[in-house]
């Protein structure tokens, strides 16, 4: 049932934001790491020692590289546990790790290690079983790409969102958590802080990035904004 609280706040398309929103994008380069896991024991070991940029690559960046797929497992570790190790139980648990709940790589790394270690404790025979193919740890080098798209009100924001690339959606909506150190995203933070549209911001932040492609995310944000306008 709709209540006054969960109805979107009326928003004027032309009301000026206190500060504009500058749309950025990001370009990534994949560095090939030195670590190569051929067993789950090695995966656990390298999860401890790999660079932060590797955790970012395999948990965050993969969401962009495979953004059009919403079936299967949502990160590279889970996919490997399933496809190369045939450990479906482990794959499911790793896939359930939601990057939106993490604002630091350190915390995310600890969760991943905990899941693998617990699985190995319960299934010791899987520890040294050789995988069908190795897991190659890679890392992401990210370069921020400013775009000329700027929004000073909600109407311009909607227009900008239509124009920005998929990399831009990923940058603002998914990667932003690590930058902001908040369980939110750049779009929601701007809507709340600069346009006082807290409810709208919350609704956008609740869009499920795991069951939606990045194009779907764009469409859903636009739908929420257009309803509010």
């Amino acid at each position: 049932m709709a209540t006054a609280q969960n109805l979107p706040q009326p928003a004027s398309p032309l009301r000026w934001a206190r500060a504009p929103f500058y749309f950025n994008s990001a370009a990534h380069l994949i560095r090939i790491g030195q670590q190569k896991a051929t067993t789950l024991a090695e995966l656990a070991e390298y999860l401890r020692t790999c660079p932060d940029a590797s955790i970012f690559q395999h948990m965050f960046q993969t969401l962009q590289e495979h953004h059009y797929i919403r079936e299967g497992f949502s990160n590279d570790f889970a996919h490997w546990a399933f496809a190369a190790c045939n450990e479906i139980g482990l794959a499911e648990r790793l896939a359930a790790v939601d990057v939106r709940e993490y604002t630091s790589i350190k915390a995310l790394r600890e969760t991943l290690i905990g899941i693998v270690e617990e699985y190995l404790k319960k299934n010791p025979r899987t520890r040294e079983r050789t995988a069908f193919e190795p897991f190659y740890f890679c890392a992401s080098d990210t370069v921020v790409v400013p775009t000329p798209i700027v929004a000073r009100n909600l109407a311009e924001f909607a227009e900008g969102l239509k124009q920005v690339s998929i990399s831009g959606i990923h940058y603002h909506f998914i990667q932003a958590r690590l930058r902001l150190k908040l369980n939110s995203n750049d779009f929601s933070v701007w809507l709340e802080q600069e346009l006082d549209l807290g409810t709208l911001a919350d609704r956008i932040n609740r869009i499920d990035i795991y069951t939606s492609t990045l194009q779907d995310v764009r469409r859903q944000i636009l739908k929420i904004i257009e309803k509010a306008l």
């Binding site: 994008s25 990001a26 370009a27 990534h28 380069l29 994949i30 560095r31 090939i32 030195q34 190569k36 660079p51 932060d52 940029a53 970012f56 965050f60 962009q64 590289e65 495979h66 953004h67 059009y68 797929i69 079936e71 299967g72 996919h79 496809a83 630091s104 790589i105 350190k106 193919e133 190795p134 190659y136 890679c138 992401s140 080098d141 990210t142 370069v143 921020v144 790409v145 400013p146 775009t147 000329p148 124009q163 920005v164 690339s165 998929i166 990399s167 831009g168 990667q175 690590l178 930058r179």
Partner: protein
């Protein structure tokens, strides 16, 4: 007037039988009579095997005897309908940071081969982005290229007898090229092992990248130990897959091989052309078509594909097209082709096409006409024929080898198989579950769009150059 001659595959030489083989009618643009190209002779046949049934029906298809002139390279804006305006704008932005910087790329051949194909498209795009980029080709005698061919095979794990004379000759030619060339640019990209010794011209100001297109996972130790000290003088190395790398003291980056969506092999075609090609080759488009595009090479397992087709055909109606080259200029290719013909027997629904290397439009049409594309390789590099099939939105069944699993994510962007039986089952499944097959094709297309297009590689080069020159500091999320 056009001079015509007819070339046939060996088993297509008599009038009866069922397997349909290519009969290519060559046309030349000159008045002068030309000698017909050599017809490959099959020498190795099992004496106990029944005679290969010859072609019952000859198909005529005109393919130019010489490669046609390449079309002009596309402009950046031509890619906008494919990747969007925002992505093009981002390329311009990334390039702006490199204004005033110059690049030289060096490889060992200007025509033929995947590297030349990529550079032919990459260089004009970089120049259009106002990052002046030169392409130079090293020279050498036949002895040099024999050595580099030996190195190439050895780096793939083959046997090679390394002598001091060979190593001296390799270095001598590299030194000759080094003396001949100027190295005034800011960035140097050296492709593959042939020109690797040019690194001796490295000075303080330039940054040097070694782009290795070869799988180095299992190299001949002596050859690799010789090359490695050269490689480790570079500022970075680039590989096509993490599985292709060696442990090196320099940063290694991953650049997937890519296809050009606007090339003749990949551009969208008129349906009328696709239909005409099918008609000329005797393909019935009212019934399912399975296709494997590959040179006639045992590592591509064409006989395994025929076996899978035969198993599947017990349950589902379909035709099989095996199209490729290599049977004309490669003696082993001719032998493999004969084996393929024998395996096909007298089945009129197996269509075997031995095409010249410049049949890009025909290959494109065959892929577009296919219900399923198969690439049942037993060993593979990256497998760009898979990329091409995925780009065309075709449900793809492929061997889980080399770079194929990077492209074919099992049951998501295609199907990976490990056996003839597995391949046969997946053919049956996909033909009887068209919605699932269609979803695979759709995902496969998006996978290529995101990761394996020429424009994605331009973006990677621009980012790499920025990082190497210190123009930007990459963000490291924490």
């Amino acid at each position: 007037m056009k001079e015509k001659d007819t070339k046939q595959t060996p088993a297509a030489s008599s009038e009866n039988g069922g397997v349909r083989t290519q009969t290519v009618e060559h046309t030349t643009a000159t008045e002068a009579p030309t000698s017909p190209p050599e017809v490959p002779q099959v020498e190795r046949r099992n004496p106990n095997a029944p005679p290969v049934p010859p072609a019952r029906e000859r198909r005529k298809y005109k393919v130019s005897e010489t490669p046609p002139p390449p079309p002009p390279p596309p402009k950046l804006n031509d890619y906008e309908p494919i990747i969007g305006k925002a992505a093009i704008d981002e390329l311009h932005f990334l390039a702006r940071h490199l204004r005033g910087k110059t690049v030289k790329m060096v490889n060992s051949t200007a025509v033929g081969g995947g590297v030349a194909e990529i550079l032919n498209r990459l260089i004009p795009l970089m120049n259009e982005l106002e990052v002046p980029t030169k392409w130079e080709v090293i020279t050498g005698g036949n002895d040099f290229f024999e050595i580099t061919k030996g190195f190439h095979n050895a780096l793939h794990g083959g046997e090679y007898n390394v002598t001091k004379e060979i190593l001296d000759l390799f270095q001598m030619y590299n030194e000759q090229n080094r003396q001949r060339m100027e190295f005034a640019e800011d960035l140097f990209v050296i492709h593959d092992p042939q020109p690797v010794g040019l690194i001796r011209s490295k000075r303080d100001r330039g940054r040097w990248v070694w782009r290795c297109h070869i799988d180095l996972s299992n190299p001949h130790a002596e050859v690799w130990n010789f090359l490695r000290p050269f490689v480790e003088q570079y500022d970075a190395a680039i590989f096509s897959s993490p599985a292709f790398t060696r442990q090196l003291a320099i940063p290694q980056y991953l650049f997937y091989p890519c296809i050009d969506p606007l090339s003749e092999k990949n551009k969208t075609m008129e349906e009328t052309f696709v239909q005409k090609v099918c008609e000329d080759f005797g393909i019935d488009r009212t019934r399912p078509v399975l296709t494997q595009i590959s040179r006639f090479d045992r590592l591509k397992d064409p006989v395994g594909v025929i076996q899978a087709y035969k198993l599947a055909k017990k349950y589902v109606d379909c035709q099989l097209v095996l199209a490729g080259g290599g049977a004309t200029d490669d003696p082993e290719g001719a032998v493999v082709l004969a084996e393929v013909m024998e395996a096909a027997g007298d089945d009129p629904d197996v269509i075997i096409l031995n095409l010249p290397p410049w049949s890009a439009l025909e290959i494109n049409a065959l892929q577009q006409a296919s219900n399923i594309v198969i690439q049942k390789s037993l060993k593979e590099g990256f497998g760009l024929t898979v990329t091409e099939a995925l780009w065309k939105g075709k449900p793809t069944i492929a061997g889980a080898v080399g770079g194929i699993p990077t492209q074919v994510i099992h049951k998501l962007t295609g199907i990976l198989v490990h056996s003839v039986e597995g391949c046969a089952y997946q053919i049956r499944y996909l033909l009887t579950h068209p919605e699932f097959a269609q979803q695979l094709g759709k995902n496969g297309h998006e996978h290529v769009k995101e990761n394996f297009l020429m424009t994605t590689n331009v973006r990677r080069w621009l980012v790499l150059f920025q990082i190497l020159l210190g123009v930007v500091k990459p963000a490291r999320p924490s």
